[in-house]
Symmetry: C2
Subunit: 493 residues, 2 copies
C-alpha cells in the first residue's frame, strides 16, 4: 500500500512557484462556491507518519484558502468529559457544517492504530473498531459529506533523516517531541498496523489517499490539487437520485396483523394500587440512582408514542424520584438551523449523558423512522439506512456503559380522541394540543406500520423497546418505572 | 436582612394539601404560556445556608412543573476548561433560552461568598466582584430575563438541628457532607459576608428573596407562589416602551469633524518593503506564539472595518504565522435561532479562547453599535447600553489573561467603490460582494458617526482600538501585524 509513496516523488521549485498561485485562486473560488450553496461539508483527515508534513499541511491549507471557512481541530489526549462519553463523541463534536471545510489533525484512526501498536488493543478489538469506522464513514457519505482521508508516508530511513533535520533547525526543533522518537522505534509495527487499517477502511465512499511526505512541494501540490478536484467534481455533480433504497421495500404484513394490534391497550389498574406501587418504585429508583456502581453507568431513556399517550406525565413520575442535579430532559422538536447543516444524528450526540447521569429524550432520533418517514420529510433511502445507523449509535452508548430503555406509549384511536377533546376543554392543557396533533391523527395507520418496522429493526438486546399499553395512565406509568428499575438492576447486578 | 426569616414561619399540612394542587396547575399553565410566547427567560437562583432546603426546592420545582421546560444546572468545582476561561463563562453557558425556566443550584454568588468566608478573597476584591455581578444582572434585566434570586436561610441553632436530623435518617444521610459541617463552624462569618453581599446586590431589577428554610411546607409554597406571581405579572405586562435611553443622545461633533476624517488613509508603502517586513513580523509573531509565557495568556483579536477594507487578507497574514492548532477564526454573521433566544453577548461567550490559544473575530460584538445601530435592528436603549456591557465583557477577558487587540480598517469612499467594481469583475472574488455591501455604502456617513462613538466609548487601556489606514493594503497589514506583536510583547514582558 505504501510502495508508491517511497519512490522519491519531487516537484521542482520553478514548477511549484508557477502552479501555486493558480491553484490557490481556484481553491478560494471553490471555497466560496461551496459556502454559497452550502449543500455539503468537506472533511479532511490528516494522518500518517510523524515528520511527514502533517502539521505543515494543516497550516498550508489555512494559508492558501480562506481560513474563515475552515475549522481546524487537533485532537490531543481526551479530556475528562470526553473520557466519560463514547469514543466517537469528540469527533461528532468536531464535524464541519455544510458549506465549510473541516480539517481534522489526527482523527478517529489515531487511537485505534496507536493503541494496537503499543499493544493496548487486541487485534480482534481493532477489527471491531474498524467496523465501527466503516459504518461511521458510510453514514457521513450518505449525509453528503465529502470525506478526504490523507495519509502522509515516509520510509523508515526517510523518517529518521527528517526527524533529525527538524531537530537541527532551531525554528523547527519544537515540532519533534520525545514521543516522536519513541514512536520511531516502533516504525515497523506501526507500518504493519497502519497498512492493515488503511486497507480495511479504503472503501468506495472514502478511499485513502497516500501521499509521499518527503518533498514539501510534491506533498503540498498533491493535496491541494486533489482537494480542488474533489470539491469541483462534487459541486458540478447533479445531486444523485438516491430516491430508492438498496434494501427491499418494507411491506405491511400480508395478513394485515400489525404489532400494535396485538396489545391489550385497556388494562385494569386502580388508583389505590397505583399510589402504593408508585411510591415503592420511586423509592427503588432513587436508591438505584445513588448506588455506588451507578457512577460507572448512565441512563438513556427514550420516550415515543401516540400524541396524548402520556409521555410527559410518565417522565414526571420518573424525575420525581431523582435528584434534579442528576437528570436532563431533552424535548425533541424540529431541528434548528445549526442542526440542519449537520448529519442527522449530530444533535442527539450533543446530549449524551456523562457517567452517573440520566438523560430522558422526549421524542428522539426515532423521529427519522416515524414522523419523517410518514410525512415524507426525508427520502426512503434516508429512513431505511437510519435503522442501522441508530443501532450503531445505541451500541456505542452501550459499550460506554449506558443503560438504554426505550418506550412506545400506545393508546387506542378512541382514547386519543377523548384526550384531545379533554385537552382542548381544559385551560391549562390547551397548549398541549395543536393543529399538528390533529393532522398526525389522520395518518394513524401509517404510524402503526412505521412503529412495527421500527420495533422489528431496532429492538436489540442492548437497547430493547418496551411497548406500553397506555389507555390506563396508572398502568402505563407503573410499567415504565418497573421496566426502568429492572434495566438498571440488571446492569448493577 | 435575615430577621424575618428566623421567626418560625409555618404552614400546616391541611392548608398545604389544599393549596398545592391549585398552585401546580397554575404553574404548569404559566409554563406553557411562557413557552408559547417565548419572549423572555426565567432564571431562578437557589442559594443560601446548607440544610435550608435548597436541593429539595430544586427537585420540587422539577416535580411540580413540566421538567421538559426547565433546565437545571448545579455547579460543582470548575473543570479544567472552565478554569482557563473567565469566571463567568460557565454561568453564561448555563443561561436558559427564552421560553424556558433555568434553575441554577449555586450561582455566581457561591464562589465570591465562600472565598471571602475562607479568606481566599480580600474584601476589596469581593466588592469588585459584587460590582461585576450587579452589572451582569442589570444586563440580564435589560435583555428581558426574569431573574428570581432565592436565599434560603436558617438560624444557627436551626441549622445545627437540621443537619443532625438529616444525618439520622438513612434516606437523607447522603445529603450531609463533611464540608457542610466545616461550613457550619463558620456560620457567623458566613452570615456576615452573605448579608453584605445580599444587601449590595439587592437591586430594583433583581431583589433578593430571603426564605426561612425550616418548615418545608412554608418554604415550598413561598417559592412556588412567588414564582407564579412573577411569571404571570411579566406575561401580562405590556412590553415596556424603553425606546429612549436614559443617557443623553449622542450628538455628532458640532463642527462636523469626525474621528475617521483625521486619518491619512493614503499611505506610501512599496511591495518590496512589505515583503521584507512581512516575513520579519510573521517570524516575530510565530516566536511569540511559542513563548513559554504565552501559555498563561490568550489573544482575542477583533476585526471591524468598511466593507472591502481588507479584513480577510489581513487575517490571513496573521494566521500564516501561526500553528493551525492554535487559532480559531470566528466569522460573525446574523445570529442563528439558538443565538436569538439568548442575551446579545451570549454567542460571543461561546468562542472565548482557552489559555495559549488565539481567537480572531471577523466582525464581532461591535455589530451592536455599528450595523445594528445604523440599520435600526435594535433600539437606541439597547445599543447605548452595549458600550458598557462590552467594556465589562472585555474587562473579564483581560482579567483572565487575554490580550485584546481591536482593529478598525478604514478606506475612503472612492477606494471602496474601486474595490467593489474589481470584485464584481474578478471571478473568484465575486462571492465577496453582495447587494448588502452596496446598501451599507449608502449609509456611509452614519457609519462614520457610529465608529467615532464606538472608539470614544470602548477604546480602553486593556482593550484599545487601533485605527488602520487601509487604502494601501500593504501598509495596513504591516500596521496590524506590528500592533499585534507589540501588544503581546508588552504583556509577556
Amino acid at each position: 500500500m505504501f510502495e508508491l509513496a517511497e519512490i522519491g516523488h519531487k516537484i521542482d521549485k520553478t514548477l511549484y512557484k508557477k502552479e501555486v498561485p493558480v491553484l490557490r485562486e481556484a481553491l478560494l473560488d471553490a471555497q466560496y462556491e461551496l459556502k454559497e450553496h452550502s449543500e455539503f461539508a468537506v472533511i479532511i483527515l490528516i494522518n500518517g507518519v510523524d515528520g511527514a508534513g502533517k502539521g505543515e499541511t494543516v497550516n498550508l491549507l489555512n494559508e492558501w484558502m480562506d481560513p474563515r471557512l475552515i475549522s481546524t481541530c487537533a485532537f490531543a489526549a481526551p479530556s475528562n468529559e470526553e473520557r466519560e462519553k463514547p469514543h466517537m463523541w469528540r469527533y461528532w463534536r468536531a464535524l464541519a457544517p455544510k458549506g465549510k471545510i473541516g480539517v481534522l489533525f489526527g482523527s478517529w484512526y489515531t487511537d485505534p492504530i496507536l493503541n494496537r501498536v503499543t499493544g493496548k488493543l487486541k487485534s480482534t478489538k481493532l477489527d471491531r473498531q474498524i467496523d465501527d469506522i466503516v459504518h461511521f464513514e458510510k453514514m457521513l457519505a450518505h449525509e453528503g459529506v465529502l470525506l478526504l482521508k490523507f495519509w502522509f508516508h515516509l520510509s523508515k530511513d526517510k523518517q529518521k533523516k527528517r526527524l533529525q533535520q527538524l531537530e537541527k533547525d532551531p525554528n523547527t526543533r519544537w515540532r519533534v517531541t520525545r514521543q516522536d522518537w519513541k514512536n520511531f522505534k516502533k516504525y515497523d509495527k506501526f507500518a504493519r498496523v497502519s497498512e492493515h487499517v488503511l486497507r480495511e477502511t479504503s472503501t468506495a465512499d472514502a478511499p485513502w489517499i497516500v501521499v509521499e511526505g518527503e518533498d514539501a512541494n510534491y506533498r503540498s501540490l498533491t493535496v491541494g490539487k486533489l482537494l480542488l478536484k474533489e470539491i469541483l467534481n462534487r459541486l458540478e455533480a447533479q445531486p444523485e437520485p438516491i430516491e430508492a433504497s438498496d434494501a427491499a421495500p418494507l411491506l405491511p404484513p400480508i395478513d394485515d396483523l400489525q404489532l400494535l394490534d396485538t396489545l391489550q391497550l385497556e388494562q385494569e389498574y386502580s388508583k389505590e394500587d397505583y399510589k402504593e406501587e408508585l411510591e415503592q418504585l420511586q423509592g427503588r429508583l432513587n436508591l438505584l440512582s445513588r448506588h455506588p456502581k451507578f457512577k460507572e453507568h448512565s441512563v438513556v431513556a427514550v420516550f415515543e408514542g401516540n400524541d396524548a399517550a402520556g409521555k410527559g406525565g410518565s417522565i414526571r413520575r420518573i424525575t420525581a424520584a431523582l435528584d434534579a442535579r442528576q437528570f436532563t430532559i431533552i424535548p425533541v422538536a424540529a431541528p434548528t438551523e445549526d442542526e440542519r447543516v449537520q448529519p442527522y444524528l449530530w444533535r442527539f450526540w450533543q446530549h449524551i449523558p456523562r457517567k452517573g447521569r440520566i438523560t430522558i429524550f422526549d421524542r428522539s432520533w426515532y423521529g427519522r423512522v416515524l414522523v419523517e418517514r410518514v410525512e415524507g420529510f426525508c427520502k426512503e433511502a434516508d429512513w431505511m439506512r437510519a435503522y442501522s445507523e441508530i443501532n450503531d449509535f445505541e451500541e456505542q452508548l452501550a459499550v460506554q456503559g449506558a443503560i438504554i430503555v426505550k418506550f412506545w406509549l400506545a393508546i387506542s384511536k378512541d382514547e386519543q380522541l377523548k384526550r384531545f377533546k379533554e385537552r382542548e376543554a381544559i385551560g391549562f392543557k390547551r397548549f398541549k394540543i395543536t393543529e399538528e396533533d390533529w393532522r398526525n391523527r389522520e395518518k394513524w395507520d401509517d404510524y402503526v406500520c412505521a412503529v412495527g418496522d421500527m420495533v422489528e429493526r431496532t429492538s436489540t438486546d442492548i437497547a430493547p423497546w418496551t411497548l406500553v399499553e397506555a389507555n390506563n395512565k396508572y398502568y402505563a406509568r407503573i410499567k415504565i418505572l418497573k421496566t426502568l428499575c429492572e434495566a438498571i438492576e440488571k446492569v448493577l447486578g
